[in-house]
Symmetry: D2
Subunit: 499 residues, 4 copies
């Protein structure tokens, strides 16, 4: 079938079997028409459109050896370091078109992580998960399927392991094993872009012990599978999507995050990619999250570009763009933005080929990128607010602006330089407000792909403190010789690195 057109994708999700989706206490009839969800549909559509856009095609399309065809990059298994870099570049470029989180990279990162880990499990256990997974991958690539990935469980009591929880369903688990498949129960939280996807890939969310084996499962299911309930979460300014005028909800692009409840859902064996191999839960988490943290240096620098552009335009409107202190703030925003991006670019080029043939990012740099993303967006937002002025929190509504009696007054009093109509100022203020105070740029930057503490644990494990100590001892002349280059501590998947 090959690459789909955006309209084909929209038709497909409009006409599938009706999934059970709730928004603000009501069940959704058609996600493609619901004001709360349309922005995500549009974001997904942009990813399909990119494959047909001459300016983006080079980034948006890749050759897949698995089906010997071109595929949308969002369904591609990375074959090289260039592929890893293309991911980061594509996300930054698409952010500019979407004005929000593109939402489709979780599924993408999931298939790459499973490509590697199913191969690792098979090698150790003699199982055939990888073959199974490749069949699924071919189906996805041939049909240009929109994927979502679901990792974060609801987790109950944070200090207890899955099998110790008072609520045994606090982590998704197998509740029944059948000849033809398994039945799963539990819930996943904070799942991005799910209702506009066609398939959900489910992965465990943490390291497991043997006693947690019922929780060590990974699988894929269509969204409209019986027993799946999806509750879409709220976000800052979300109800503006229901307003008639477009201005106050600019850029009109929101993502959505949802809770998925698996209320005893059946999964056939051919869609099961991990089943009780508890010792591979952690490698899957770490490989997936390194991939996903790598994405953030791309998409969040893309959102930062929009914020810089909006602040720059507002400064021009006020006639202060060339004031030194404004310029300093703009440059600081650039610096912070490019620093996040640089770390993800570095993570791409220090990627390594894994046993399955897939390229994995450098985990240190990927975690560094994400850790920067947990801090710099708050400062970028603050600087943009500083430039934009208090009007960001006090500007009149678009409805006031359009009121016949008020319009002439606001056109007079809300304008700064006569070169710019007052409406342009209002539009730019709303764009900046909705992006810079939005969940996507703040909360999502902090917690997406794992909270700051998760990256810190991983950076602490990846850095070789013993080696650093030996260098210090050598230089303090406590030890005579600088030791030979010492390799990092062995990890389950280290031995899987080919190159």
């Amino acid at each position: 079938m090959g690459l789909r057109k955006p309209e084909e994708y929209i038709q497909a999700i409009r006409h599938r079997k009706k999934a059970e989706i709730y928004v603000l206490g009501e069940q959704v009839e058609d996600v493609t028409k619901h004001p709360f969800l349309k922005p995500t549909v549009r974001a997904y559509a942009v990813t399909y459109e990119a494959a047909w856009d001459p300016a983006l095609r080079k980034l948006a399309v890749a050759y897949s050896p698995y089906i010997n065809e071109e595929v949308n990059r969002f369904n591609h298994i990375h074959q090289s370091r260039e592929d890893l870099e293309a991911k980061v570049k594509l996300l930054r470029a698409l952010s500019h078109k979407v004005g929000a989180c593109v939402q489709r990279c979780v599924g993408w990162d999931a298939i790459n992580a499973l490509h590697i880990v199913t191969h690792m499990i098979d090698k150790k256990k003699g199982s055939d998960y990888h073959k199974r997974f490749i069949e699924f991958l071919k189906y996805v690539q041939k049909n240009d399927i929109a994927l979502a990935g679901a990792m974060t469980d609801v987790k109950g009591v944070r200090s207890l392991r899955p099998h110790q929880q008072p609520n045994p369903d606090a982590y998704v688990r197998v509740v029944e094993v059948r000849d033809d498949g398994i039945v799963v129960r539990g819930a996943k939280m904070s799942i991005t872009g799910v209702v506009t996807s066609e398939e959900i890939i489910v992965m465990p969310t943490r390291a497991m012990t043997e006693k947690d084996e019922a929780y060590a499962i990974s699988f894929a299911v269509p969204l409209d599978t019986e027993g799946i309930k999806i509750i879409v979460g709220r976000q800052v300014n979300d109800c503006r999507r229901f307003e008639e005028n477009e201005i106050d909800s600019l850029p009109g692009a929101f993502n959505h995050e949802a809770m998925i409840i698996f209320d005893d859902v059946f999964v056939p064996w051919e869609r099961v990619f991990m089943f009780k191999e508890w010792e591979f839960a952690y490698p899957l988490v770490e490989i997936f999250s390194s991939y996903h943290r790598h994405a953030y240096g791309g998409c969040k620098s893309g959102l930062a570009d929009i914020i810089i552009g909006a602040a720059y335009n507002l400064a021009k409107q006020m006639g202060i763009a060339d004031k030194h202190h404004i310029r300093e703030k703009l440059v600081e925003m650039v610096f912070l933005t490019e620093a996040m991006y640089a770390a993800s670019i570095a993570a791409s080029w220090r990627g390594r080929k894994m046993g399955s043939g897939c390229y994995w990012v450098d985990p240190m740099f990927s975690n560094v990128a994400k850790q920067l993303v947990t801090r710099f967006p708050y400062e970028i937002a603050r600087l943009s607010h500083d430039i934009a002025g208090g009007v960001l929190g006090t500007a009149p509504s678009a409805k006031d602006f359009m009121h016949p009696k008020l319009k002439p007054l606001l056109e007079k009093y809300f304008q700064c330089l006569p070169d710019y109509p007052a409406e342009h100022r209002l539009r730019m203020v709303r764009l900046l407000e909705n992006i810079s105070l939005g969940v996507m740029f703040l909360i999502e930057s902090l917690h997406g792909a794992g909270s700051p503490a998760a990256q810190r644990i991983m950076m602490g494990r990846l850095y070789d403190f013993e080696k650093a100590e030996k260098i210090a001892k050598y230089l303090a002349r406590i030890e005579k010789e600088l030791p030979e280059e010492i390799r990092g501590k062995p990890e389950p998947w280290r031995s899987d690195i080919e190159e």
Copy 2:
């Protein structure tokens, strides 16, 4: 008449002549019943209630020598350093009751600034503004009037002075002088709490030159004066105020900021406190803004307490409040909060008595307090988001939570420790979301009482660089003697300091 009860205040603003107020494109019938404005009414009512609350009375009431009676502290002229400290303490305490900006301190700071500056003008010019002002003050104190203060003009082209603007009304100005008073035109932006006030005190917003004299005016007018139009601005999550359930808009406390348009408004002479004395425009701005910056160390540390409390409770619900990295973040939030507060306390105790008998805050510490407030709340917000988790941007709506089919599922999956019902978690998440991402805690902290650059200019002027250089020269043995204590550069109002 003496201290009013909160219900008396509410009746008063309900039954005044109808002011011309717009919210979301519609004119407001009754501010006390409008869902968008009710939270401000409640905030103001709390300030009246405090005078009758035994626990707060000591802070909320003060003795006024002008009417020889007790007055609500929000209408008090500071008679001592203790009064200055009481202001900061009162604001922190009331923030805890209101859950938002109390909104009534702008008018308070305006009367204190005018008390000082009218006296200064008279001394120099032989005018009688101070007497006029005292009459107004007595009226305010006797009737326990709710005041608003309006300083920020719309400002047009930022790099041009008022008289150079392409739009001559970009700053509020006199357009006509009559025997009985003046007619003013222009607009003020970002005015806090105005529609629930009874009188508006208008002040110039910047230094003026002789050519700007028509803009160097200060006066007071009742809100329902003919020709005044008020357009209430939008804020993050404002439309949640219209939702039926209370949870998603917790704490139900918002402030409002509005644009006031003076469409040729008449002001009688007895309400005019500055008229073309352009050389006093800047002293008024600097004295007022030092007062107002002083307030921020109180009210924003109060909001920070709420954020700390919410984050602490959420950490308990998840069972992680005693984890070291959570504790570290909580303590960091405490440190940042108390540092803001400390600077305002210091500004109180280094206050000085001015020629009019009113105590003014220390301007350096007041500016330091506000500069801290332009930075620390963003970091406090970030730390609270870190603790609360991604759920802050993805939690289901209260409507979903109340849906009969979803409620049992959400009670099961949204709960953490069994000791806490899931609804408590939702409530705390919404409280934290609405405060920590709200205009009041971020944008308002940044721009209220002047943008960061304004404080920097003032700190740079207040610090004696020449003295510091002389100290350095002495220590570098370029100069033999350390100079006698060198006084700061003379400012218009320096000579006005008595003590």
Copy 3:
């Protein structure tokens, strides 16, 4: 005897019995003539001189009710909040004269802490330490004695309590009890200004348990007591003090820190102020360290003034003082400096009268001040380095500058604006180098009066998280009423607060 003149002090320490003091591996003959120690002698002399300096007298002298005479403030027991503020002001002012840590406040803070704690012990135990202490105090005040304070033990294994240490002398302890006194053994580290003092006041360094009671001791001994060995520590650039020219070691003012070894030292009972009352070890630490942290907002802001002055002068020499980015950096340094100072001023004015009649600082603000001091000086140093330029690390030596062949070349090439001789630039560079990279401004700011973690523990304990949580619950409508003002958790000394 009354207030001593600086020369009287110098004579006194020159002619005392020779104490056993080591510097760079050699025993010191006369501390007043040793190039390594002279700067400290000078600093101490400045504190004596201040009492006779009309410009400083008001700050430097106070009336003592204990001897009914004026005393040098460094030996004063705080009788009011004004006294607490005077301490902070005095330290800032003296820093400007000394160009370094004044070094005399440790002993001062020790006598104030012991004043309070001896009174607390007596009240609980019926002992008579306070009377004993007052006798000692009178001796100190009457003879205008120079005191040092010693708290930090060498501590051995950090995770073990004193009685668990493999080295039982890792904390100072009683090794013998006699009729006339006790014999102590152990060592104290990082003791400021000790060799130029006349008496050392020793205090425990941490909370103790009953098993540690032999370590719960406090006492005072003259420096030249038998068995005391003092090893003066090294500091950055210390050997420049031996160079002939003065320029490279500008400002010629260094502090010193030493290790004091108590090699079985006898202390008569009248000099023992705590003996095995282990439960008062922690209150003494906390009260002393709050006092001492309060000092840092004064002395470090004083050093920061010098750094600002030096950076400002260097910017003038280069002709860039009015460049916007230089101005921004100078103002940022001012802001950071005044923020540290503000917190100590606030700690003074929120001080409270204790049972002994002595005023104690507000511990929260005092800890906030010190926590700011653990961070801001590094940023102030960085900003000053930014302004000064790379020359700070590459300027030629004064010896090169004075070389007959090189002098004309350096006068030509090292000069910037012709208004300033090249030598002035070199002097200012050296002043800035020695202060901004010195132990006093960096390491001492970080660790003096307790490391950052110590302040964090105390801030965490002083803040009422339960109250904050209750406020949040009230605003989240989980609880109906805001609780009455809740007092902090009771501490041993809380009940000792009178006012």
Copy 4:
């Protein structure tokens, strides 16, 4: 001749014609034996040794097409992105061996910049500088010459251009043109590693106008050329190099920076690479400085490794390495270190081939790397000081430690865990002190390769604000279409990019 052994290099600089070098007011006889300069000799020797070290050879040696031989990488012209990455890796690895700035990359960056710019000048002007330069390069490569680079002029009045200076020699200039060459006069400041080099490459330090053409010159001269005077600058703790014991000056590795005075020095035409082509002064500065800023992500992360190792070891000695707050600080240091490194890695892989065939780094990422380096080392230093404790500023001297009477006492009292001898603690404290407070890690990180403001100007110019604004306008629906990818503003050398 090919790759030299380290001893060959040392012999060469020992036996050259005596250059006129001053240290602390005295002329140096033999740089290889002078205690002040030996550390630099050792650093250079390590770069020669690396070419023969099997573990480093792959990084340290490269194939040069210009002489069809292997060369030391420090004299290599980058032929690929892999070469650019190898530079960063090599610098990090060598920092571990040297314990200081390696000092040899300035010359390296200079030859790469001149390779590109001489080619650009020729293309535009029809000159033959590139050929001349290649001849010089072959000489350097064939003889494995140690190069220094000199860019920073003394600059006089910062706000004036070279031709406007009151001192016409404030920038190096041509004072005479002869048939066989030119005579130059002026001085260069803050030149790294120069006295241990054999040739100095001189470049202009800023953009020039036509009137400055006498200053727009670049050339190479041997160090021992007549008329060159070198005055070595002072650094923190430099005089410890003269002390007999090694401990207090650990790691025994310092760099040096010197002022080079060109007192009418003759340069033959074949060594002149730019002569009055003023419009190429700025491209040379920008290309060189981007190269040089790229280096800092390598060498400073290498020094940071040492600091991490020392702090980790000291934490172990105290028995606190596994305490949570220590671990957090160590991980923070790792994060900051790897972020600096990541930006330089990214700058390597986004490098582009220039017209001359040489690969240039990505200038945005290179400037981002350096800007990070102007901030993070101060924070890394602070964190290491926090872990190490106050002992960093108060530890006894090695001479005290070796004193027969004090040694047993210090072995007892200076030890923490019994597993580690006290001397190891002293060694580690000194190593950390000398590196973390040293010029190399602080001042050099701030000002080397250009001050922070220089990077900010360049980042501001490289970022496409107009494009960002257009994206914002598109998303604010002010413009209908997102513009085609817009290229950056054209720069003189942009057209020179091949790939």
